[in-house]
């Protein structure tokens, strides 16, 4: 009887210890899963908040640009035009169109270039054609204006594939392209720029390349330009890769956007 009691005690202790150890493992494993889930949720919320913040910052930035552009266009440029007109009247009063006063000539030429510059600035800040005619037309205009400079040749192909419906999304894409062209002009010493669009499944693919100096992506520090591209890309639910084909010369970037942009 004593033996039976002892064996029952041992077996009970064995089952108890086995159960307890398995229970401990189950408890900690479940607890860990819970903690990880909560942490994931928190990270997701943080990410959403950051995205919202970024979205708002860029929206405010665009609104401010729009305001400055309209001030520049409607107020300053108009006033400069009036001054230009008055100058003509003054010149006429002083002795007709054949009257040659070097100071007046200097003022007129400076005024003309200031009007031209302020108009250009207003257009760069907020292309008015974007709202009226859409991104395809604006890119065509950009292509023409770059090609007119003769320093660089730009070619945009298949831009009709861009399916972004809102002006906001189109503006993000336009700003990305603007930033890329700026970089090419600043650093690349290139002769040609090619921008092409194609559909890749449910995504819009944009390839940008120039025949300039190029660079090794790992060797550069991301500046505000690249960060701007990243942020706008994120807003278009897109991604990009620099030099995806590992080409040895020039700069190449591949962008993938959601076909409907941010919608």
């Amino acid at each position: 009887m004593k033996d039976v009691n002892l064996i029952i005690t041992i077996l009970s202790a064995l089952i108890f210890m086995m159960g307890i150890s398995l229970l401990v493992i189950w408890f900690f494993s479940k607890g860990q899963k819970k903690i990880m889930k909560a942490r994931m949720l928190q990270k997701e919320q943080e990410l959403n908040f950051q995205k919202e913040l970024l979205d708002n910052t860029i929206r405010i930035q665009e609104e401010e640009r729009n305001r400055i552009a309209s001030e520049l266009h409607d107020d300053i440029t108009s006033q400069l035009n009036i001054i230009h007109l008055n100058l003509h009247v003054l010149k006429k009063d002083l002795g007709g169109p054949n009257h040659n006063n070097p100071v007046l000539e200097q003022i007129e030429s400076s005024l003309a270039s200031s009007i031209d510059r302020s108009r250009k600035m207003a257009h760069e800040l907020m292309p008015p054609l974007l709202q009226k005619f859409g991104i395809t037309y604006v890119l065509q205009e950009l292509e023409n204006s770059v090609n007119q400079s003769m320093a660089l040749q730009m070619q945009v192909s298949s831009s009709h594939l861009i399916g972004f419906e809102t002006v906001h999304d189109q503006l993000h894409l336009y700003r990305i392209i603007q930033e890329l062209i700026n970089n090419t002009l600043k650093y690349a010493n290139a002769k040609n720029i090619k921008i092409s669009f194609k559909n890749e499944g449910d995504q819009l693919c944009m390839n940008y390349s120039d025949d300039g100096r190029g660079f090794v992506p790992s060797e550069i520090k991301p500046g505000s330009g690249l960060k701007n591209i990243q942020s706008r890309c994120q807003l278009l639910k897109g991604s990009f890769e620099i030099n995806p084909m590992h080409e040895k010369s020039g700069f190449h970037a591949k962008f993938l956007f959601s076909k409907n942009g941010n919608n």
Partner: protein, 223 residues
């Protein structure tokens, strides 16, 4: 009943020794690739497999093998304490292991020399080691509950989970080992048989984890 338990127990024991030696060889091939905590577990594993083989040979020859049980307890304590000291670094533990190692070693030596001599099973020392492993396992699992998961951490958790189950069974069997001498032999064998099965599973699982680790590190180096 007695015969069947003894036969099956002997068979399980032989398989366990064979697997232990096989996995030990596998570990020794790429020992340098292992992180420190896994090396310490490997030393314990190799020591345990080797001493099992010696114990078995002595038992077959009818010689007293209790000296090796004392020796194994000593090795087990050292490797397990160092193992837990290493894994505790994963959760920045502030536990002073020095305060655990020296009193533990003194207790084992005193037990071997004065309390349970070389002609007795070192149940006190072995129970102390098992209890220590259980406590440190639970402590580790608790402290790493909110740690960022990594391959090494997940693997160490699996290993420690196994250690917890194995030592929980061992603690009961070892604690009652001297009392069990009074019960019929077939029942004694039954209890030892349960521990033998758990030991076998423990060895197989540890072998699998080592294999997984090597596979993972080879994949990483290939990438």
């Amino acid at each position: 009943m007695l015969l069947s338990f003894m036969q099956v127990g002997l068979f399980v024991g032989k398989i366990s020794i064979f697997i232990g030696l096989l996995v030990s060889l596998l570990i020794l091939i790429d020992f340098k690739k292992l992180p420190v905590f896994f090396r310490l577990l490997a030393l314990f594993y190799i020591g345990s497999a080797s001493i099992d083989l010696i114990n078995h040979s002595f038992a077959v020859s009818g010689l007293n093998n209790l000296l090796f049980v004392h020796l194994f307890t000593f090795i087990e304590f050292c490797t397990m304490t160092l193992f837990f000291r290493e894994v505790s670094k994963m959760h920045n533990s502030r536990l002073n292991f020095e305060l655990l190692i020296w009193p533990g070693l003194i207790f084992i030596i005193l037990n071997t020399l004065f309390i349970q001599g070389l002609d007795m099973f070192s149940s006190y020392s072995a129970s102390m080691v098992a209890a220590m492993v259980i406590v440190l396992s639970v402590r580790f699992l608790y402290h790493t509950m909110d740690s960022e998961p990594s391959h090494q951490l997940t693997l160490s958790k699996k290993v420690i989970g196994l250690l917890l189950v194995y030592y929980s069974i061992s603690l009961v069997v070892i604690t009652f080992s001297n009392e069990m001498l009074s019960i019929p032999r077939e029942w004694q064998n039954g209890v030892w048989f349960i521990r033998g099965i758990v030991l076998l599973l423990f060895r197989v699982m540890i072998g699998i984890y080592y294999w997984q680790y090597f596979k993972h590190s080879n994949l990483l180096s290939a990438a």
